[in-house]
C-alpha cells in the first residue's frame, strides 16, 4: 500500500506520495522496474493523509461573497478553476496521472481555493495547465488560466503586467549544488568565478547579478526549464543552480544528488498571479488566504508539505495584501 520507490532523502514526497496505491500494471513493481509511480488514484490526497485532511477541512465561501467578485462568480459559473503552474515539483505541486489530484503546497492552495469558490468537492474541479517561468505572465494576461499558483515570486516588473494576490508564502532565492560540493558553497559570496545556471526569465538572474561578488555574466547559463538546469548541475556544466528555494527544495526532495545550501539570500514572496482585467479577484483571493491562515489550514498544509523538507517549525504566515513596493 505504501510502497513508493523514491530514494532515501524523500521526506518531501511523503506528503505527495504517502499512500500511493499501486494501480493496474503498476502493481507488479518488482517486475516493472523501480521507477516512481506517477501518482496514483487518490495518491497523497487519499483520505487520512495529512494533505487530504487539510483539503477536507478547507473553508467554503458564502454565496454572497462569490457573487460579489466577478472573477469568482465566473469561475463558479463554469464550475471549474483553471490553474497555471507546474506539476513536476516534488514539494509544491506534483502530478498524478492516474486520476488523483496533484499534491504539494501550491497544489494544496489551489485545491483549497477551488473548494472555497466551488463548494464541497470543488477541490477536484481544477484544470491544471502547465506554465513555465517564461510563459506565466502571458497565460494570465490572456485569460488562458484563471490564476497562476506556481512558486511565483511577486516582483515590481511582474506587477506591471499582472496582479498578485498574497503573498501566501515567504520564500527566497537560494543555491543548489551537487551534494558532494555541499561543504564548499554556503552562500552567494562563494560563487565568484563559479559557473552558475538558472532559468530564463527567472528571479535567479537578477539575484545572481546583485549578490555574487565580481559577477561575471559569461559564467551564467540560462536554460528554459528546471529539468535542464538540474541536468546541467548534475553533469558538471554548472557548479551552482540559483533559483527560488521552493523549486530547489523540490529538486533535492526527488534527487539525493543535489542539495540546497545556506539560507535564502533574496526574499521571494509568493503570490497568486491574476489578470489585471479580473474584477474583484485580488481582494477575493486575499480574503480566502486570510481565512485559511486564521483557520490553521495554512499551517497544517505547510507541515504536510514544505515542513517535510525543512527542519523547523511552521513559520509565521505572511500578511495577504502586503505587496512589496
Amino acid at each position: 500500500m505504501t510502497h513508493t520507490s523514491f530514494r532515501p532523502r524523500r521526506r518531501a514526497i511523503v506528503a505527495a506520495a504517502a499512500a500511493l496505491p499501486l494501480v493496474g500494471l503498476a502493481a507488479c513493481g518488482s517486475d516493472t522496474g523501480d521507477g516512481p509511480d506517477l501518482g496514483g488514484a487518490g495518491g497523497g490526497d487519499e483520505e487520512g493523509s495529512p494533505f487530504a485532511d487539510v483539503i477536507a477541512s478547507g473553508p467554503v465561501a458564502e454565496d454572497d461573497a462569490v457573487a460579489a467578485s466577478a472573477w469568482a462568480a465566473a469561475i463558479k459559473e463554469k464550475d471549474q478553476l483553471i490553474r497555471g503552474g507546474t506539476v513536476a515539483n516534488q514539494v509544491f505541486s506534483l502530478a498524478s496521472t492516474t486520476g488523483g489530484q496533484p499534491t504539494g503546497f501550491d497544489a494544496g492552495i489551489t485545491q483549497l481555493l477551488a473548494k472555497y469558490i466551488l463548494g464541497e468537492g470543488g477541490d477536484e474541479k481544477v484544470e491544471y495547465i502547465d506554465t513555465t517561468v517564461e510563459t506565466r505572465e502571458t497565460l494570465v494576461q490572456n485569460g488562458t488560466v484563471d490564476c497562476v499558483i506556481a512558486t511565483y515570486s511577486i516582483t515590481p516588473e511582474r506587477l506591471d503586467v499582472i496582479d498578485f494576490a498574497g503573498p501566501y508564502y515567504l520564500s527566497g532565492t537560494a543555491i543548489q549544488v551537487r551534494t558532494e560540493d555541499a561543504e564548499k558553497i554556503s552562500g552567494p559570496e562563494d560563487l565568484t568565478g563559479t559557473k552558475v545556471v538558472t532559468q530564463a526569465n527567472s528571479t535567479g538572474i537578477q539575484a545572481a547579478e546583485e549578490f555574487i561578488p565580481d559577477y561575471d555574466a559569461s559564467l551564467v547559463q540560462t536554460l528554459p526549464d528546471n529539468e535542464s538546469c538540474v541536468a546541467a548541475l548534475k553533469q558538471g556544466r554548472a557548479d551552482a543552480y540559483v533559483l527560488d528555494q521552493g523549486v530547489l527544495l523540490g529538486n533535492s526532495a526527488a534527487d539525493p544528488e543535489v542539495t540546497v545550501v545556506g539560507e535564502p539570500f533574496v526574499d521571494d514572496p509568493y503570490g497568486i498571479g491574476l489578470s489585471q482585467d479580473s474584477e474583484g479577484a485580488v481582494d477575493f483571493v486575499n480574503t480566502f488566504l486570510q481565512e485559511i491562515i486564521d483557520s490553521g489550514a495554512w499551517e497544517a498544509l505547510w507541515t504536510a508539505t514544505i515542513g517535510e523538507v525543512i527542519d523547523t517549525e511552521a513559520p509565521e504566515p505572511p500578511t495577504p495584501g502586503d505587496l512589496p513596493s
Binding site: 494501480v23 522496474g33 506534483l94 510563459t135 494576461q141 529539468e227
Partner: protein, 272 residues
C-alpha cells in the same frame, strides 16, 4: 522500374571482386559492431543500462502519461496541417497569379516564413503580440506559427506541382474553350494535387517535428511531457530516448507512406 545511376555504379562482381566485397563487408560489420558495443559499454559503465530504468516505460501509468503528450502532439499537427495545406495552395495560386501585386505579396510571405526560424515566430506570439493586447490561448500560440511556417513550405510544394503538370494540359484546356481560371481549377489543380500528395505527407512529418516547439508556450506535447516525466523519475537519457524513438517511428512510417505513394505514381506514369 527504370534503371537509375545508383544501380550501375559498379559491375556485377567476379570471383575476386566478390571476395573483396565480402572482406570489406566483414570489416565494416566489425567496425559497426565495435561502435555499438562501445555505446552500450558507455551506457553500462554509467549505470544507464539498469533494466529497472527501462522497463518502467512498459508500465500502464508511464504509457498513459506519455500518451497524454503524444495526443497533444497529434492534435496540433493535424489541426495545423488541415489549415496550412489549403493556405499553402492559395499562396501558390497567388504566387502564380498574373496580378503582379498579389504575386509579389505571396512571394514575400513565402520567403519570409521560409527564412526565419519557427522558434522566433512562436516567441513573437508569446511575447511580442501581447504587448499590443493581442493574445491567444496556449494551443493557438503553437498552432498558428506552425500554420504560418508550413504554409510557406507547402506553397512551394504546390507551385512545383502546378508547374509539373504538362503544358499540354493547359493548351488542351484552352483548346476546348476553358478560361484560364477554369483550366486551373478543373484540369491542372486536380492533377497537381495528386502529384504533390507524397510531398504533403512529408510536410506532415515536418509539422510533427515542429510541434516540439510547444515547450516554449508550455503546450503539453510529447517532448514537454517527456520533460515533466524526467523531473519526476530523473531517468533523463531513458525518457528522452523513448520520446525520440516515438517520434522517429511515427515519422518513419509517414515517410514510408509518402515513398510508396510516390513510387506508385511514378510506376503509373511510366506505364501510361
Amino acid at each position: 522500374m527504370s534503371t537509375t545511376a545508383t544501380q550501375v555504379l559498379f559491375d556485377a562482381p567476379g570471383p575476386k571482386g566478390r571476395r573483396r566485397i565480402l572482406l570489406l563487408s566483414i570489416l565494416s560489420v566489425l567496425v559497426i559492431l565495435a561502435l555499438l558495443v562501445g555505446a552500450l559499454w558507455q551506457f553500462q559503465s554509467n549505470g544507464q543500462l539498469d533494466p529497472g530504468k527501462w522497463v518502467v516505460y512498459l508500465r500502464a501509468d508511464y504509457i498513459a502519461f506519455l500518451w497524454q503528450g503524444l495526443w497533444g502532439t497529434l492534435k496540433v499537427t493535424a489541426l495545423a496541417a488541415v489549415v496550412a495545406f489549403p493556405l499553402g495552395l492559395l499562396l501558390a495560386l497567388a504566387r502564380l497569379s498574373r496580378f503582379r501585386m498579389l504575386s509579389a505579396l505571396a512571394a514575400v510571405w513565402i520567403e519570409f516564413y521560409r527564412g526565419i526560424p519557427m522558434l522566433l515566430v512562436v516567441y513573437a506570439f508569446l511575447l511580442a503580440l501581447p504587448a499590443f493586447g493581442v493574445t491567444f490561448p496556449q494551443f493557438w500560440m503553437l498552432v498558428i506559427p506552425m500554420i504560418l511556417v508550413s504554409s510557406a513550405t507547402t506553397a512551394e510544394v504546390f507551385r512545383a506541382g502546378i508547374n509539373a503538370v504538362d503544358r499540354g494540359q493547359h493548351e488542351a484546356a484552352a483548346a476546348i474553350g476553358l478560361s484560364r481560371r477554369d483550366a486551373m481549377v478543373s484540369v491542372v489543380l486536380p492533377q497537381a494535387v495528386r502529384l504533390v500528395l507524397p510531398s504533403l505527407i512529408l510536410a506532415l512529418v515536418t509539422l510533427l517535428k515542429d510541434s516540439t516547439l510547444g515547450y516554449v508556450v508550455s503546450y503539453n506535447e510529447l517532448q514537454f511531457q517527456g520533460k515533466t516525466l524526467v523531473s519526476i523519475t530523473r531517468y533523463l537519457v531513458q525518457t528522452y530516448l523513448v520520446v525520440s524513438v516515438i517520434y522517429i517511428v511515427i515519422n518513419f512510417l509517414l515517410t514510408r507512406v509518402a515513398l510508396a505513394l510516390d513510387a506508385r505514381m511514378k510506376a503509373r506514369a511510366a506505364a501510361s
